[in-house]
Symmetry: C2
Subunit: 83 residues, 2 copies
């Protein structure tokens, strides 16, 4: 079976997010004064061949820990769905 | 009211995604041979002050179109939730 893993990686709260800060400042220049705070991270999708949802989750979790997220500075969330 | 907009930006299907290709190749080197394809994009969260969900969505949509996504090469999805 094939699964889709969608992984959201964001800088941890309280840590510097210079890209987010820069984008926050740009918002008012395009007329959006009601955008208070911006965080910028990465979005990664994986197509995984696995027997069931939990082993697909495990593969996505290993990939996140070892390759996709820097756990010192970033946190991640995984969503799994069947393809 | 405050809303959280979560925006997923991904390269359009069929367009080059060199980062995704590179990560796909790296998967086997960490023992994940069951990961078939990887796409790498951006994940952006906005904190928005708005009267209701639809005007929060509109602000997030404007931000995506004008600033956050390159519509020629990327597509985006927006999720709105109340804070």
């Amino acid at each position: 079976m094939k699964f889709l893993a969608e992984i959201e990686v964001l800088p941890k709260k309280g840590l510097l997010d210079p890209q987010g800060k820069a984008v926050t400042h740009s918002m008012s220049s395009i007329g959006l004064n009601n955008v208070l705070e911006v965080c910028v991270g990465r979005f990664i999708t994986l197509e995984i061949e696995a027997d069931n949802e939990s082993s697909a989750f495990e593969a996505a979790d290993t990939a996140s820990k070892k390759l996709l997220a820097n756990l010192i500075m970033e946190s991640y969330k995984i969503r799994i769905s069947e393809l």
